[in-house]
């Protein structure tokens, strides 16, 4: 039955090649444009830690003075050294890590490679277990190294490939800013996108080359990059960041149960209250504890251009679909004579409706296939762009199936009205004229 309908549809579509081509093209372009932009959005708003993100939280407190104070104001995005160190050492969460990014000059021992600026993350030991960071060789460091400001480094697998040809480099020395560091670990495949834990150095595709203990980096006065927000009369003197009134550190905690989340929030409030009473925080307690995904949402990590493009392409898809409805209507109505003959010969309205819908479905399938090709082309074009997320714009299986599904559904919906109108012809009424 369906095969017969399909044959009929193909036959009818072949009869009006230009009209068919117009409809297929309209659907293909609408689907192609929307799937390109939706895929980009899908990639950009993805979950960087699929297994863990539900138990990762970002605490915020408000240590600022009363300038520009209002009760509804959001706390700063980062912590001061004093607060960060207190929260880190308080160990009220399952795991916690304090961090900031920076660029550090790397002087390779191999003379063939020129010195270069390596992207670095200065962090504390829990970073690796908390985010489930995979290691290819060696391990991360522990609390002893944090406390002792030991000169150890974990490097990315890309840097390991570049400097050591991918061999196990654990135990080798690495010269950073004229200081020797011992490599204790080489990361495996670790490219969280968005780059959620440190977003000032670039939100996407911005993996670090080296990971160093925060305490060691401060000890060596390594340059911290990103944002330093100060208040009062503090300048952001890079040599005294431990004491100034500036926020410049990111702090993440792992909290596994709703009860521990509530506990942690209370702990932040008590801490703020104590500091307020002691006169260090001039504002009343103002804390937030957002989960990882909420935090990304709050930061508006997804570039607004990407969202705008989605809206634009959906508008475009709507134009294409309305266009297809119109063309299909024209096509079906033109066949009133044929349809009424078939009605007169005994075809039920239902059967005609089914046949016409099958025709729309075939158009949708063709349009979807075309749209898929256009979307692949669109994504390829986006990958040629210099935006930092450009390289991530790739179609995955789920988006591929979504594309085809949306195309067929859209064209079926577009076919509903024309098919319904067309099969309302009275049997044989149209025959009279001929």
């Amino acid at each position: 039955m369906l095969a017969y309908y399909f044959d009929l549809a193909v036959h009818s579509l072949k009869r009006h090649r230009v009209l068919t081509a117009l409809m297929v093209l309209a659907i293909a372009m609408g689907i192609g444009a929307s799937m390109t932009t939706l895929t980009v959005l899908h990639v950009l708003s993805g979950d960087p830690l699929p297994q863990r993100s539900g138990s990762i939280y970002y605490p915020q407190i408000d240590p600022r003075n009363l300038v520009d104070y209002s009760p509804k104001v959001e706390p700063p995005e980062q912590l001061t050294w004093v607060d960060g160190m207190y929260l880190l050492h308080a160990r009220r969460a399952v795991r916690q890590a304090l961090m900031t990014g920076g660029m550090v000059p790397l002087q390779p021992a191999q003379s063939a490679i020129d010195p270069f600026q390596a992207a670095a993350l200065y962090t504390s030991s829990d970073f690796f277990p908390m985010f489930n960071v995979p290691f290819k060789y060696g391990t991360g460091w522990g609390e002893a190294e944090d406390a002792g400001k030991v000169r150890v480094a974990v490097i990315s697998s890309a840097l390991n490939d570049k400097l050591f040809g991918g061999k196990n480099s654990v135990g080798q020395m690495l010269r950073l800013q004229e200081t020797a560091f011992r490599i204790i670990g080489v990361l495996g495949d670790w490219h969280p996108n968005p780059h959620f834990y440190e977003w000032y150095m670039g939100g996407y595709d911005s993996d670090e080359d080296v990971y160093l203990p925060l305490t060691t980096a401060r000890d060596l006065k390594m340059e911290h990059d990103g944002s330093t927000d100060c208040w009062g009369n503090s300048g952001g003197d890079p040599d005294h960041l431990e004491t100034v009134n500036c926020t410049w550190l990111q702090f993440w905690v792992q909290l596994d149960t709703p009860a521990s989340v509530a506990d942690y929030k209370r702990f932040l409030e008590h801490y703020s209250q104590d500091q307020h009473r002691a006169g260090r925080f001039l504002r009343p307690p103002n804390v937030r504890l957002r989960s990882l995904m909420q935090w990304l949402d709050y930061l508006k990590m997804v570039p607004s251009d990407a969202r705008l493009q989605v809206w634009l392409s959906l508008g475009f898809l709507a134009v294409c679909l309305i266009n297809t409805v119109g063309l299909m209507l024209a096509k079906f109505m033109r066949r009133s004579t044929e349809l009424s003959v078939r009605r007169a010969l005994g075809a039920s309205r239902r059967a005609l409706f089914g046949q016409l819908l099958m025709e729309s479905g075939v158009i949708g399938l063709l349009g979807g296939a075309g749209g898929l090709l256009l979307a692949l082309l669109g994504l390829w074009l986006i990958r040629q762009q210099p935006a930092d997320y450009a390289d991530l714009a790739r179609m995955d299986i789920s988006m591929l199936l979504t594309t085809l599904l949306i195309a067929v559904l859209a064209s079926l919906i577009a076919g509903l009205l024309p098919a319904w109108r067309a099969c309302r012809v009275a049997p044989a009424l149209q025959l009279k004229g001929n």
Partner: protein, 405 residues
Amino acid sequence: MEIRPIVASLKKHRIPTLLIVLQIALACAVLCNAVFMIGGRVRQMRLANAIDEQGLVSVSLQGTDPKLIASDTQRNLAALRSIAGVQAVSVVHTLPLTNNNWGWSFGITPDSSVTDQKNTNVTLYFVGQGSQRALGLRLLEGRYFSDSEYVDNAIAGGALPNTHLVVITQALGKQLWPGQSALGKTLYSKPNYYTVVGVVADVLRPRLWSDNRKSYYSAFFPVGADDVLRTYVLRGAPADRDRILREAIDALQTANPQAVVKGVTFQAIRDKYYADTNSMVWILVLVCAVMLAVTAFGIVGLTSFWVGQRRRQIGIRRAVGATRADILRYFRTENFLLSSAGVVLGMIMAYGVNLYLMKQYELERMPWYYLPAGALALWLIGQLAVSGPAMRAAAVPPVVATQPA
């Protein structure tokens, strides 16, 4: 032309009529907003920047010993000066459009502090000797700095220089002291203060603001050897700049083997800064063009269908005396009515979409003239699209009236 028969005929074809109107309306709404976004971005890319962009090359040097910065800087500048074709050399801490912004808020009264809300956020450009020539700054009023005013370690790890002179852009002067000359006035941020000795033509900031005027709030501070001055700028003829860049990188890497040397032409800095904007503009242009094409084909398709349906009626009209021009005019007028209904609806939708985007994405309000411009575009496209089918309709011979349907 009598429009009543046209309206009567359209009423008999409610669904196709509605579809065309809806399609034109949607196309109009998307078009107005897309063109508005394109306009804003193109305006931003075209902002003038009063430095010698074409002849400028920059080479940054990282990872050298901060204690040796004074002697290193002198040695590096000398090495760069000896490159053939170099007209001027200097060292600065950042350049326009590099995203590396050092901002600070200043007021115009002595009690202003950095956190005051009413202050103006300004980009600080710390510049070394010879920077006016090297960057190609155009002095409009007053003077630039004299050699003795560049103080070594003026920043020394702080946020502001411990000097008291500044040269500002014209736009900043106008913002701070509207209607007055900025010369001799003072910028304050407790406890620092800076007297304006010169005004230069508008130089862009390292990062642009959505309000184009604010993108010019730049101030130049004279600084001698200091750890923050690590970007060397060289100016030469545009034809020489690629060679100058290569030789400058070599010269600095030879002089500082352990340092990280990175060089780039200013043209490349500009291209990189605007790359995203540029690709967004192309995407928008492409979507608009394809959407208009789809709309036009839709009109062609539906009108062709109508012409086919009405062949007999057209023949009758021709037989009773209508000229070809009458038939042509009939379909043109019909399309004009449909387009008009479409663009009226479309302009309302365009306005609504703009309101939504303003709320969600901090877009500006769309100037009113985008609406009639979009309407005009769709009217034209409608008339263009209807030409073919209308011509075919006009070609229907009167004899059709006598043939059985």
